[in-house]
Structures are given as C-alpha cells and as structure tokens.
C-alpha cells in the first residue's frame, strides 16, 4: 500500500541544513494499523507530511497504492490526496463557517461527484461516526470529540485507500480520546489501512504495528499483535467497514 525507500527530507536555512528525514524506509501493507511514535523533533511529522503528499522530499522513492509519486505535478498530487488519502488532524481542521455537512462535503466537491452522490456519501460517513443527526450544526456547537469524529467522517467520505492520523486524540480528554480510538479500531477491523502518529505509548501498544522515528530514521519496530487477520483482506477499502454505533456525548448548547 505505502512503500518508502531511502527517503530524505532536508530543510535548508541560511546556514544550517536539517535532515528531518534521513534515508527513511517504511513499508505499510493494506489493512495494517501502524502507530508512529518518537520524541518531538524526531521527524515523525515530516514523515506524515511526506506520506500524505503535503510536503515533498529530496531523495528516495515513494510509492502510494502502486503509484510512484516522485516527479508528479502539483495537480496530480492534489488528485492523489483527494482520492487515496484520508487525513485526520490533531486539531480537527474543520472549517468553522461551514456546517458539519458542508465540511464533510468539501473534499467530495473537489472529486467532482454529483450532488446526489455527495449527499449519499456525506450521510453515510456521518452515520459511521454516529453524527448523522447533526448535519446542520456548526463545528463550534460540537465537543472536541465530536469535531474529531466529523473530521474522521470527512476523511472516510472519499473512500480513501489509506487514513493518515496526526495525533488524533492529542487535543481530547481521555474519555473522548477513547471513543475516537474505538472508531479507528473499528475501521481497521473493517479493513482500513491506517497510519497514526502518536506520542501516547498506550495507543501505540494497541495497534498492529508500532514504528519509532528517531533522528529522521526508523529506529526499530515491534509487533504487538498478530498480523494474520490483515493478510486476508488485502486491498479492501475502508468503506466496507460496517458502522458501529458510538455513544453520543452530551454537549452543552
């Protein structure tokens, strides 16, 4: 699904070269749930930016779902981001002026779906995260956990090949964090490929694979759970994941 081979990312300032990634190699198979950990400044954010095609890299090869990304034009990268990747950000990154519906709808518009197709997908995705009844709410009317679930719905709506989560529970209290993690786990059980950057060792331990980045390189990796189940479900889309009801949180108006 994701193949990185000897990727280097160098930030150049006037006098100093910083190697954010140094000969970084990683292979993620379809259906895997990979946690990326590491101390701050280790390069895990850079990794996620490169993996998500948000940032370019200086050396190495990167293949995403069979497409080699080096040398692609900006528009082609946008297309790939839109079709193959679902992002979940630490601070949700919802657009505050837009309703929940419009937020989830936004990436679908860039895909060029028809209005009816978009509506179907938005409703389905919000169903999955248990927020189907809040279509018209503004993000500010929801709790942090709910907002993150909207963000997850937004990531799912485009039926991406891979979900990239950047500290998805970083801004949430433990109860809400729990709920978000449950959704991610459910999605993974349904066959979704997920890469999650986290600094929470507990979360890292729960997933199928945990890789650690130190000084821009993969330090070592430990397997905490057997991989056998994923092997059968290669290539399946996250959309196939059956939805599971999530308990609603009560939000003060």
């Amino acid at each position: 699904m994701l193949k990185m081979n000897n990727i280097s990312r160098i930030y150049q300032s006037d006098t100093i070269q910083t190697h954010a990634l140094r000969d970084f190699s990683l292979n993620v198979n379809a259906g895997e749930f990979v946690a990326v950990t590491g101390p701050s400044g280790s390069g895990k954010s850079t990794f996620l930016n490169v993996a998500g095609l948000l940032d370019n890299f200086d050396r190495g090869q990167y293949e995403l779902d069979g497409v080699s990304v080096q040398g692609l034009k900006d528009d082609e990268l946008s297309r790939l981001r839109n079709e193959k990747i679902g992002f979940i950000f630490q601070n949700y990154n919802l657009i505050p002026d837009y309703s929940i519906f419009d937020n989830v709808d936004m990436p679908l518009r860039y895909r060029g779906f028809s209005a009816s197709e978009r509506k179907r997908r938005v409703e389905e995705a919000l169903e999955k995260v248990g927020l189907a009844s809040r279509l018209k709410y503004l993000p500010s009317q929801l709790s942090g956990g709910q907002q993150q679930r909207v963000a997850i719905a937004r990531a799912l709506a485009g039926e991406p090949k891979i979900l990239l989560a950047d500290e998805p529970t970083g801004n949430l209290d433990s109860l809400m964090a729990r709920q978000v993690m449950e959704i991610l786990h459910d999605l993974n059980k349904g066959g979704a490929t997920i890469i999650m950057v986290t600094h929470d060792p507990d979360q890292a331990r729960e997933v199928s694979r945990n890789v650690q980045v130190i000084d821009g390189q993969l330090a070592d990796f430990r397997v905490y759970a057997p991989l056998d189940r994923q092997a059968e479900q290669t290539g399946k889309n996250t959309s196939a994941v059956a939805s599971k009801n999530v308990n609603e949180e009560v939000v003060d108006a």
């Binding site: 946008s78 990154n93 002026d97 518009r109 060029g112 937004r154």
Partner: protein
Amino acid sequence: MNFATLNIKGLIKSLLLRKFTTGLLILQLAITLGLLVNSAILAFDTREKMSQPTGLDDENILIVSTHPTSGSYRDLDYYRSIVNEDLSKLNQLPGVNSVSITNQLPIRGRGMLSNTHDIDNPEQEKADKYLKDVKYTLAGEHLAEAMGFTIIEGRFLNKSDELDFDSEAKNNIVITESLKKGLYGDESAIGRETNNGIIVGVIKDIMLDPTLPRDKQYGLFMNTIMKYIFIGRFYVINVEPGQMANVRNQVSDTILAVQAERDIFDVFTMSEHLKNFYRDDQGLSDLFLLLCGLMIFVTAISSYAYSQFHISRQKKYIGIRRALGARKQDILLYVLTENWLVYTIGCALGLVMALGFNILLSQYISLSKPDMMLFLLASAVIFVAGTLATWIPAVKTSNIPPVIATRTV
C-alpha cells in the same frame, strides 16, 4: 473551470461573517458603478451633441474675429472701405471659394435677437414664444456661399437688397425653414411681409442656437451689414477642401496688410467653433472621467486589501482544502468567485446607485437616463478591474502549501 467544486451557499455564509468589510466594499463598488454609468452617460451625451449635423460646411469654413483699434474707424465710410478691401484681398487668396461678413455666428446661445411676426398677425408671438427671440443676422450677400446654406425657396440676399443707408424702405429678408414653418406653416413664404421685412428666400435649417429645439432654429438674415458695419465682427471664409492650413496661415497677415490698426482676436474653423460651444460640457465630462479613473483605482486598492485581509485570516483553511485535495486552480477559482460574488452584489446595488445619482445630478445638469447597456458595460469594467486587483492575492493564495494544515498554531 469547474464551478461545481464551489459551495456557493458556503461562500455567501462566509461573506456574511465579515459583514463590515464586505459591506464597505459593496458600497464602494456600488458608488463606483453609479459614477461610472453617469460619467459614461455624460461622455456619450457630449459626443452626441457635438456630432449633431450643423447644416453647415463645418470643415471648410474659416472664421476671423476682428475689431479695429483706431479711432479713425469711427468714420464709417473709412471703415466700410477697409472692410471691402479686406474682403476682396481675402477672396484673392489661393484656395478661397468665397468670403463674407456677418455680425454673429451660428452655434451660439442668444446673441442679437428680434421678435418676428407676420405684419398682419402680431398675435403669432403669443402662441409661439420662440418667435420673440428670432436670431437676427446681418449678412453680406455672399454669406450663403461662404457658410454653405441650402436655398429651398426663392433666393439668398443680393446687392439689390442693400438699401441706401438713410432709406426708410422695407428690407428684404431670408429666413430659415423652421421660421417659415412657424410663421406660415406649409404655405410658401416668398413675398410675405413680416415686421422685419419682406421674405425673398428660405434656407434649409442650420444650427443657430444648440440650446433650442431642432425645429425652433428661428433665424432671419438681411443685407444691412454695411450700414451697421461697426458690428460686423466676423469674416467668414469658405475654403477649398485641403487648403485650410494654407489659407489659415495667411488671413491675419492679409487683413493687417490692408490696415494694421486692428485686433485679430481669433482665427478658427466652424468645427472648432462647435467644439468650443461645448467646451464646458466636454470639460465636465472629462472631469467626471478623471474622477472615474481615480475611483476605480481606489476601489481596486480596496478589492486588493479585502482579499488580502481575508486570505491572511483564511490561510489555514486554504491549507486544509489543499490537503484534502483541492488543486491550485480550485483555490484560485474559490478566491475569485468569492470576489465575483461581492462584485455582483455591488453591481446590483450599483444599479440603484446609478439611478439615484442620475436623478441627483439632473438637478444640476442635463443628462440622459441610464440604459441597461451602459450599466452592463460599467459592470464589466468593475469586474475586469476587480479581477485584476485580486489576481495577485488569489495566485498567492493558491500557492499556500498544503503542509500548513498539519501545523498546530
């Protein structure tokens, strides 16, 4: 361009969230449009006025306005002899078709006027107020050729119409077509007698006073200029086409060579005379266009500042859009559409402003009503200027890298 990627409802909502700045810009756009439309009206009105047919051979008529400076001219016989010599010398210039003299020019407000009615029907003046102010021109007998009048009935004035200076006999006069209609309707006017003399000819209308209606260009001509030579201020010279520059260069010297104690105020063609009549209209219309230029400039700055300000606040969200798969051109379209939406509202309000401003202006000056074509044209100008002004911020915005999305503030 793919407008389907846009969420118009969302755009409107985001505009509503910055009511103040958007409102200011919309007001500015509306005022600018209002001024633009009315300035264009003024400009077109002026152009139309200046391109009205004068009924004269505008391009080929040269006029000299002159006045003696010496006391010797108080002897009118001396005055006349000099004028006669002037006329004959001017006539000899190569390229000159004919020369005449008159007390006043067409294309002028008021001037020397006289009430005119059929000798037996003074009541006419009560029915038609324009008959009270008929342009009263003292003409030399060659004025018709010099001006290029078209005779439609009878003849123009000739030597026999010039009475002895102390004669009390009735004058022969030539009148304009509209005056004939005003006095006698469709009947022939030849031989009829007015309070100002007996009609011997009718000429096709010329533009005597542009401030009066086209069909009220009442004027009469009589051959008494030599009698009242002291008001014969204008020499009218009809010039062979293409010879204007030549003749123009020589007239002053020719006149002064006859007798030097003269002031030559001006030498001008009839088309310049026409232009000069509308000089103030032209000036005002130019001033308005200048103001339009300034206004578009200021409004363009505002459009620029508006998008710039908006974008500086939206940077993060643009990054998110990019991260979620928006292409650069999607963002460009997004920013431009947002502005176009504002311009559309501004122009719609501008329609009201244009009408209101038109009504307000017409309290002071005369101008036509706005029409839809002009409004659309002005709107197009606003859109083009606005798009140009927001182009740089829009391109800058589309260059916001998607990686901004993962940065935590």
